[in-house]
């Protein structure tokens, strides 16, 4: 049975089409539709219920040492409030999950894993404890709302003090007042757009949602569903667990090498990654023929199978069909012509740079 987030009634009242996702029932879209929701985030501002995301607290004097063991990225040299993204690898060099970890202080970190993986992750994290650390799954007590788009700061400033906002991308402020509630304000997101994510007490989520809906009216804010969340992350070239990352795909194959610190003394999966030849790698594909390349479609150059697509659809802002794929490294160069088998029909595409969309920095 899927769980409801604290915002379930709000979604239904807004005309949300509710679907199961990662153990929750969430809106895939509202009456506005995926395209309008996608464009609102690129051009104005959109809000998302992301309360399904997991939250795990890690406390103890060996917290930094533990994170460096558990995750492929380095958690050294961070300031309080800083966030770092990392794949979490298995012993074979595949990926258990990807997540953000926030440093609250030197002995206290907050992990944010994917909803569908949270229970598996928590077990994995407990099995790999080293030193003096305690883990606590606080997912059930938390809500989370993402505010994404160029107008998100203007909206957020109506509900919080400017000095309480995190200044840098991938940082957060803790215990700040937002719409009268105590929250974590984070400058992160999964859309490729400027924005914030607000972590709050579960019971405070509806009041914060209402305050955002009201504050955002003059800025063109609309609620956005999982459909737009997926097209936005794809357009921004961001990988999704279960698609570009799995237990059998290494972070180097997923082209996440900058988050894998091979100069660290050790981390789970390091040995396997070191030994593994890099035969395939994640690339972007632009569809040049007629059709849409979706996930799990075989890719060919002539009669030779050269890879498989991992995600793909029509991208509303770019205005064309694009896909991400894992291909044989011999075919990774930009401009390489590849065909996908789309339900028995060949659709032409070519390798193109990732991300498909990059925000213009002002």
């Amino acid at each position: 049975m899927e769980k409801k987030t604290a915002l379930y009634d709000k979604h239904v009242a807004c005309g949300g089409k509710m679907v199961p996702f990662g153990g929750f029932i969430l809106p895939v879209q509202y009456e506005t539709g995926v395209i309008a929701e996608h464009m609102a985030v690129r051009e104005k501002v959109g809000i998302f219920d992301v309360s399904h995301m997991g939250e795990v607290l890690c406390t103890g004097k060996d917290a930094v040492k533990y994170l460096n063991h558990l995750l492929a990225n380095s958690y050294d040299g961070m300031y309080d409030g800083q966030a770092r993204y990392s794949p979490m690898c298995n012993e074979h060099g595949g990926i258990v999950d990807d997540m953000i970890a926030y440093r609250i202080n030197e002995e206290k970190f907050l992990f944010v894993p994917n909803a569908a993986n949270k229970d598996k992750d928590f077990k994995w994290m407990q099995e790999h404890v080293i030193g003096d650390v305690k883990l606590e799954d606080i997912s059930e007590t938390m809500g989370q709302i993402a505010i994404q788009g160029p107008n998100s700061k203007a909206v957020v400033l109506k509900l919080a003090k400017e000095e309480d906002l995190p200044k840098k991308y991938y940082s957060a402020t803790f215990d700040k007042e937002f719409a009268g509630k105590k929250v974590i304000i984070s400058r992160t997101g999964y859309t490729g757009e400027f924005g914030y994510e607000i972590y709050c007490q579960k019971d405070d989520t509806p009041a914060i949602w209402d305050a955002l809906m009201e504050a955002g009216k003059e800025y063109g804010l609309i609620p956005c569903g999982l459909g737009a969340r997926d097209t936005l992350r794809l357009e921004a070239g961001m990988p999704l667990y279960g698609h570009e990352m799995t237990d059998d795909i290494s972070p180097l194959e997923a082209d996440l090498g900058i988050f894998v610190k091979m100069d660290k003394e050790e981390f789970v999966g390091k040995e396997a990654i070191e030994k593994m030849p890099l035969n395939r790698i994640r690339v972007g594909l632009k569809v040049t023929g007629r059709g849409i390349i979706r996930e799990h479609m075989d890719l060919y150059v002539g009669d030779k199978k050269v890879g498989i697509s991992t995600s793909g659809t029509q991208l509303p802002f770019c205005g064309g069909a694009y896909a991400m794929a894992l291909v044989d490294v011999a075919y990774k160069e930009i401009g390489t012509k590849i065909e996908a088998d789309v339900r028995g029909r060949r659709v032409e595409a070519e390798v193109c740079p990732l991300p498909f969309y990059k925000r213009e920095k002002k």
Partner: protein, 124 residues
């Protein structure tokens, strides 16, 4: 939900307009609403044979692919090329956005009146 009374409907949510031995076929308002924003349409070619109850086209929304079933058997007389360039027309005006015209119509699927179809949709 908009369900014009002069059309006939299938359980799989296509609409048909019968004129003598010719049929015009499209997707119902209920279907376009359930599918969401459509971004791609695949149509057969003029001259292709189509069979009642079998797939003759597919439509893709941002999220998924869906097959479209032919309510009648016959030969494709005309296709709506406008849809190939602008599938959003199906969302905007599902009863103007016809997919194909079929001539020499033989067999047909079990077709419903507008009233029957609305009841069918209530149970979907």
């Amino acid at each position: 939900m908009n369900t014009p009374a002069e059309l006939k409907y299938t359980k799989s949510h296509e609409w048909v307009k019968m004129e003598g031995s010719e049929a015009t076929i499209g997707l119902s308002d209920f279907a376009q609403n359930a599918l969401g924003d459509l971004v791609f349409v695949n149509l057969p070619e003029v001259g292709d044979a189509v069979t009642a109850g079998e797939v003759f086209a597919d439509v893709e929304s941002v999220k998924a692919v869906s097959d479209v079933y032919c309510p009648v058997s016959g030969e494709v007389a005309e296709i709506n090329e406008e849809l190939l360039d602008d599938p959003a027309k199906i969302n905007e005006a599902p009863y103007d956005a016809w997919f194909i015209k079929v001539k020499n119509v033989g067999d047909t699927e079990e077709l419903m009146t507008a009233d029957e179809y609305e009841k069918h949709c209530e149970n979907e």
